[in-house]
Symmetry: D2
Subunit: 382 residues, 4 copies
């Protein structure tokens, strides 16, 4: 089958790779209809990880079940399904607690597995024609048959739940004020989710005009950090800070005035965390869907390279803030978010900028990495 294969930094190719097989009785094979490119794929693409050439990318996968192993009970051939980016077993201690992003079964020696991602286990990515899905009853979320809402549903694999997770980690409740740093796809989903949860005011901080415009369209209040300290801008508008903060930027945060593309020279990896500590009111909470990593070959200095950041911890403590972190446990939310899409209460695909054939993936990676031509969120259709 054809698949998107990582060749070397800044290079992927669509190549033939072996078809996936049923390797375990609980496996299913899914014929991919949509697979998205994620901002975190760019970390590998840019050589900012230990990913080796040959890896097949793709952890945001959706399609139709083509074959099931003999132990699969509820999922059937022909079911339209979307898979959480996190591969999970459903029965380890973390899965039982709902922490399916930290499954200890699927990636021995580590808590958490994913398709097509460095260090996340043996699971081949889904930017390809077919995908092997383990523990299929657990990992395949059923969707209504047909083709309706294809783009909306494909976002259930990662960014819609991940944005929602940010709001959950921050404990966003009706009537609260929220600041979301970052208006990339995850940030927009975090803002959108905060509004779904009833937030009274949602500030969205970025410096890319198109992103801020999207934030405003969905009901957010755009704050351009190139136009002044975003903390002060928000405090000036409100006369106080906010109840909750969400960091949808992560360790590649950049300072004001840096280019839209970013670049290591502009990175200040702790800037958003300390801005949130400054901005969120005492007793508030920070949701950090991130991403932060314990090892970054391209870190701006030795500390950043090992994920050690200088945090204003005295201020954090004085304010009595709490803080939730970590990758999204997609299965905690995906069925609920699916039902919102079906009933028309949510339509997250407003963030999708491009839907293209699988074969165009190399060009899409190049342009997305450079933020050219409005590349924001790309769905590949094999």
């Amino acid at each position: 089958m054809k698949a998107v294969v990582y060749k070397e930094p800044f290079s992927v190719a669509v190549e033939n790779v072996p078809d996936p097989q049923i390797l375990h009785p609980n496996d299913a094979i899914v014929r991919i209809t949509s697979s998205c490119i994620c901002g975190s794929d760019l970390h590998m693409y840019e050589g900012r990880t230990a990913a080796e050439p040959g890896i097949v990318f793709g952890h945001e996968n959706m399609g139709v079940i083509e074959e099931v192993g003999p132990a699969v009970k509820d999922r059937k051939v022909g079911d339209r399904v979307v898979m959480p980016f996190n591969v999970a077993c459903g029965f380890c201690k973390n899965c039982l607690g709902g922490y399916t992003g930290f499954c200890t079964t699927v990636n021995p020696g580590f808590a958490g597995g994913a398709y097509g991602y460095v260090a996340m286990g043996p699971w081949v990515g889904g930017q390809a024609e077919y995908l092997q899905v383990p523990f299929a009853d657990f990992n395949c979320l059923s969707l209504p048959a047909g083709t309706e809402h294809e783009a909306d549903f494909s976002l259930l694999a990662d960014i819609f739940p991940t944005g929602y997770h940010g709001a959950e980690l921050a404990g966003v409740r009706p009537g609260e004020s929220v600041a979301v740093f970052g208006a990339g796809p995850v940030g927009l989903m975090a803002a959108y989710s905060s509004l779904i949860r009833g937030a009274a005011e949602v500030y969205v901080v970025d410096h890319v005009g198109e992103r801020l415009a999207k934030a405003e369209e969905i009901g957010g209040i755009p704050i351009n950090y190139d136009e002044g300290d975003p903390v002060q801008q928000i405090k000036d508008r409100r006369g106080t800070g906010v109840d909750k903060g969400i960091d949808a930027v992560g360790y590649q945060a950049t300072k004001a005035g840096s280019s839209a593309v970013g670049g290591e020279q502009d990175e200040v990896p702790n800037i958003v965390l300390n801005q949130l500590i400054d901005l969120v009111n005492p007793t508030g909470a920070l949701g950090i869907p991130g991403l932060y990593v314990p090892s970054d070959p391209g870190g701006v200095d030795e500390n950043a390279s090992r994920g050690a950041l200088s945090i204003n911890f005295g201020r954090l403590f004085e304010k009595g803030l709490s803080l939730g972190t970590g990758q999204c446990n997609v299965k905690q939310y995906n069925s609920y978010l699916r039902d919102m899409i079906i009933s028309g209460r949510a339509a997250p695909s407003f963030v999708v900028s491009h839907e293209i054939p699988l074969d165009d993936a190399p060009e899409a990676y190049t342009k997305f990495d450079r933020r050219e031509d409005g590349y924001t969120k790309v769905i590949l259709h094999p």
Copy 2:
């Protein structure tokens, strides 16, 4: 009346000061029967804060109501009461949310007030014969008349709830494994509270023999960090990390081999936080009753002086840990903990090392600061 007055670093005196008055219709005057010296009083005593000479110390206060203002409704002259160290109004947004440690009414311009503490508002301390208590209906917790359980009840002002708060911030639940760093009074109360909440295993890390012995007496598992990396010691015993961690040490954390008294030269202010990040299992939580401060005149370096600590944030995120901080909201817990004392289910006074007359306070401060003669927790009786 007589009161313990701060004179200069390492010096307090018992002096005559003006009697407190009813200044507001909701005030009460309490005749103090017990007032404890807190480890955080030593921060002021040692000159590690901006406290000015003349301040009357004492935020852990208990006694009998001597007089009430005309607006006081439920509390009566003669009631035996204990006051949370945090002064609170009961009607600001934070108080309404239960965050009485972050009251915005009692200390204008700041969230949080306390008796006898630098920068915590105009409230005179209770290491004295009498105490002015504002919002008396809200701030006075009623106790059974008489003298029974005097020491146990006096600990309801601060350290029993504060230790309990550590367990609450970490979300300690029945059957979990917990590591408490620090076996001073707050650490012991955190361990005790974790056991009260049903923890299966509670490790207590310190390097003072008497403290570790106390921890073991109440059912904890002592870990001496002078005998090796405490993280590794616990992982070796369990074969894995722990579910929850509590930092009852704070910014004056010291490295292995340092003296019991501490001293700036031995301080490594981020050591406990990073040890907890290393020790707590993925999906776990850290409760940080602290103390960390945003400004420390005696900090080991420039960063420490402004409360900026190097935190292994990449690892924290990878593990999906959450983290709760801040001073205890005593009123959330004190009536429940009181009822446990009354019914005989809790007896926290095992941490009390000395009960002495108010006049002996100067000597007690000296010895407590030097950890001489077993000074651990002192109750002053005016």
Copy 3:
């Protein structure tokens, strides 16, 4: 001053009564600008309670502070404020737990007080020119100065929070399916609040066309119970039951085909509860903002008269349902709902049918009780 005075069943009059006074240092006097008539006022009006002639009605009160007692700290003369219908002290055990609807201070011997309501304490109602408000710092919610959003804000006294409370008692979360029984003002507010909280589908059951039309306008799915068993109608549409149910009808529930006005002959007081037990899926929850009473002089039979209802408890248990009841603790929600109104995210006044001068109250009571001329929710402006 002028006030709405209860004369006898089905009769109120606007009469002169003594002006309220500052009786306690924590009191405030509020000049009423809006006071709503509540469906529960009709219980008294119809003689279905023990209310004695002479009582001044009005527990949904809003206005401007005219005078404050000497102990009032934060509220000032001239502040625009709205008061929860429940009078509360802020410092009793129930208030501290957030259960301000069950204050044990303001209505001796009972848990819960209200303005202008039988058996709810000595507090005179606010369908009048002025109102005495005890514990003013606690009970007065500050509003932006001016006259904007007057109708929206006035609903913060009761029905918006009470509807929201129904959703809270049922634990409505994003993506869930909800059935609200009753599309009176509280039912509509419960549906509206469920949607605010992110519910995917909200069914609203009633048999009055105008009400069902309102439900549909705000995004609900109307179900007319005169057109068939509402449980079956919903199950037929969904192929299953719902996640959560809200009973906004209470003990005066009527069977299909009864007149819009109701009447004791049509009452089946347990019908909605048993329908919800039938409709809500296993593991679901029922929120019951009610109203149910332990003593109903007009009950359909002896059991109903003492509030004993035949409940399908075996089925409830088999399904593992949970159930939350009781009057709303307005203070838990009112500041958050206010902020949603200010930011434009909520506008509950769509339920208001009439805004009239205080003097027209007698006619309004008559018509509202008979559901004539579209009387649904009336605001009186003194």
Copy 4:
């Protein structure tokens, strides 16, 4: 193999039945070492259910894995395991929510399955030499190898978690007062669990001397309802009601003065529920692990036969009580309770009265049903 087979009301026999087989790749076969007789087995034994002759009893099962199907991943031959009485899949909506007692996969058309129980699916009971366990990775809880704590661990299948569930449904928290109605095995476990969770006072209501003595031994306060209205007894002692109530009696509740064995003539199925509504303070909660059933062939009247009970709902509402019901979701608690047993913090086997060979089951059923010779909780060892 040998198994306990139901013959007719009041009669079981140990007979040869076919050995269980691996029927699905996720199955395991467990060699039973301990299987308990449950009070709910007596419902079938007494003919109070629709159970047909031939059913093999036994839903509280423990043993060693003898064989695993080809899809089983983590559980191995030789593992010592205990199985929740509820059979569950781990991937249906209810299981994902933690409601494994309401699995929709294992018992088609119903929410919830169990071993050896009428209407709970095709799963053969474990009062036998071997047991087929579906979804073995999910349903088998691993235990330390060996024979230590055999009785304690066997109670993890049902009554320890079920008692704990009562405390969870009631939301028992440290420092609260609790009343448990019923001091049978589940009631004792509910009291024990409430104490584990830090309750300040736990009243235990029964009228069997031995049971009340056990309750007192573990720290409860015994209340004998033959000596007077238990509600009044508790109110007299406390001067008020309690924070939380647990109903561990269920639909076969009997009035004061009835014999220890019970009997339909003494049953008042709603008595405990209404006593709890009377006893629990406003804003409190009731946990109802039950059991209540929607169909009882031996009900005292027509209403009882269909599980309809007269509940003082007006009072319940006036007090704002909440109420949680349903069978225990054992998997939510069993690993935590296991860890408490391992660490020595819990030893629930104090309720076990008899450990006997499988062959003695018929006599044990007879005596347990008659409460002869102290039969309270019996473990069968095949």
